[in-house]
């Protein structure tokens, strides 16, 4: 009979057995792990850095907030030109040859950055604000060339903007209705009103923070905080948490690929490069995980344990008598 078809009694025939208490072992393990966990939890606690809100972002870095909002109107932010699943910007999705899953599944979570993050919240505030209402009408009736001219000039001017009394002021220039729109948007943001307006979905309960997180992700403020806490991908960020706590350390292999060629290189190799690193690394990790699962069937991989005699340390009692005989 083959070993794999044998019953336990047949499989262990001729092998000495010793008393064993499985339940006792489990109870000791539960108690031991509980003691360690309680001790570490009591001494080290756990990370809980408060979340960034639209209000805290606009209060702490008003210029970044206004620059980001202007970028949404100009269509120059990350989310505005992201591609699927948020919009259908051409050639924005990651692909590897014919493999283009981002494109395949289409625009499943449609987000119009300019409208969702700027225009619609302002429209809700315009009913009691004739200046804002007029500015919005000017913006919406303007040609796309005029809109582009205003956003371009305003973005450049924001590089030297001043902040005083919670307002952003820039040098004189032709910015169309943008100063009025942005002053109002900033005011709404600083008061906390924009946090709520970005979550409006027509339903009372709301647990989807996609619009607000995309908007914050377009700015530099949140990114700067992440850099401070070493959370970026090129800082092995997946393995870190704020406050020097360990993150998802088990993702070390996944995050390692973001640090090495070809995923750090603009040109890369075999079509894999910095531009499609996310797709390339997910494919690579899927292949490696499948290989790990199928180790028992893969020659060489399944033979390594025989070649590296770690098993002789693990089962040294088993091997010891044979050595003595020799």
């Amino acid at each position: 009979m083959k070993q794999k078809d044998a019953t336990q009694e047949e499989y262990y025939r001729g092998i000495r057995s010793v008393p064993y208490d499985l339940v006792k072992e489990l109870v000791i393990a539960l108690a031991g792990v509980a003691i360690v966990t309680i001790a570490v939890a009591a001494i080290l606690s756990s990370p809980d850095e408060p979340p960034v809100t639209i209000a805290s972002w606009s209060q702490d870095d008003a210029v970044d907030f206004v620059t980001t909002a202007t970028g949404e109107l100009a269509g120059t932010t990350t989310s505005a030109g992201y591609g699927q699943p948020y919009n259908s910007t051409a050639d924005a999705a990651q692909t590897w040859g014919p493999i283009a899953p981002q494109v395949w599944f289409g625009e499943r979570i449609p987000i119009d950055s300019a409208n969702s993050f700027v225009i619609e919240p302002l429209q809700r505030a315009a009913f009691s604000n004739s200046d804002l209402d007029s500015a919005l009408k000017t913006w919406q009736s303007a040609s796309s060339d005029d809109q582009a001219k205003w956003t371009d000039a305003y973005t450049k001017a924001l590089a030297d903007a001043q902040v005083s009394d919670g307002k952003v002021t820039v040098a004189e220039g032709d910015y169309g209705p943008l100063p009025v729109m942005m002053t109002n948007l900033l005011g709404m943001a600083r008061s906390g009103a924009l946090d709520g307006l970005l979550q409006i979905s027509g339903r009372f309960y709301q647990t989807d923070y996609t619009p607000a997180l995309l908007f914050m992700g377009d700015g530099g403020y949140l990114d700067g905080l992440a850099d401070h806490w070493s959370l970026h991908g090129d800082q092995w960020g997946m393995m870190n948490e704020t406050g020097q706590y360990p993150g998802q350390t088990w993702l070390w292999l996944y995050t390692m690929w973001y640090q090495v060629f070809p995923f750090t290189d603009e040109s890369g190799i075999l079509g894999l490069n910095e531009g499609n690193a996310d797709l390339g690394i997910i494919i690579l990790m899927t292949v490696l995980t499948a290989a790990l699962a199928l180790v028992p069937f893969i020659p060489l991989l399944r033979d390594v344990p025989r070649w590296i005699p770690i098993h002789r340390l693990i089962w040294r009692d088993y091997y010891a008598p044979k050595k003595a005989k020799a």
Binding site: S45, P101, L214, H311
Partner: protein, 216 residues
């Protein structure tokens, strides 16, 4: 009263009673002395075997602390000292769970534990590892603090690039929280139970034969 009709030939109870057939199958494949053994081969004395049981112990504390946190709601631990303590228990028991699981995985690899018909046990172990990573990932996304915000913003690119983001939206707290407290823990727990049953059904593998031994 009319006399009883003569007995018609019926299949025996053993053939038709499915409950009996299931019970006999269980008795045959996993008798209680295999599920809860009081003797083991002498070579099972190595410390490497401890990694499996302490992984299970850590998982128990992950689940227990997670049940308390989910019962009290996702806001509780941000505003309560006791809640913060339970979150810390959840956080560190998760860290220990992964540490022990990786040690268990490497231990089993160097013991080539898939031999003699145990390949499926190894394979399910790897699936547990993957499901646990997904469970922990949704947990990090459900923290409702700065870490979860940045992890979501950063991770969306990987998910979207692979097309997964169209269905698994890491920016959607409700979806991540639901997966984290319900579907994924149940999946991991079920797979761990299955893994244990497979280990107990076959018993632990013999040491690698010095002359080469059998392969899976």
């Amino acid at each position: 009263m009319a006399p009883a009709s003569p007995a018609v030939s019926q299949p025996t109870t053993e053939d038709t009673n499915r409950t009996l057939r299931v019970r006999r199958y269980i008795d045959r494949t996993l008798p209680m002395d295999h599920l809860l053994p009081d003797r083991q081969p002498y070579y099972v004395g190595s410390w490497v075997y401890v990694f499996g049981v302490i992984t299970i112990a850590a998982l128990v504390w992950v689940v227990v602390s997670g049940v308390v946190l989910s019962f009290m709601g996702p806001q509780w631990w941000h505003v309560s000292g006791l809640g913060r303590f339970f979150n810390s228990l959840h956080f560190w028991s998760t860290q220990l769970f992964f540490l022990f699981m990786v040690l268990h995985l490497w231990g089993q690899y160097f013991m080539a534990s898939w031999r003699d018909g145990r390949a499926a046990t190894w394979l399910i172990g790897v699936v547990i590892f993957g499901a646990s990573i997904l469970t922990a990932f949704t947990g990090y996304l459900s923290q409702q603090n700065f870490d979860s915000q940045f992890i979501a913003i950063n991770a969306k690119d990987a998910m979207n690039g692979a097309g997964i983001g169209a269905f698994f939206n890491v920016l959607n707290f409700g979806q991540m929280y639901g997966l984290h407290v319900m579907l994924l823990p149940i999946t991991v727990t079920f797979l761990v139970a299955w893994h244990i049953v497979m280990v107990r059904t076959r018993g632990v593998v013999k040491p690698i034969d010095p002359e080469g031994g059998s392969r899976s």
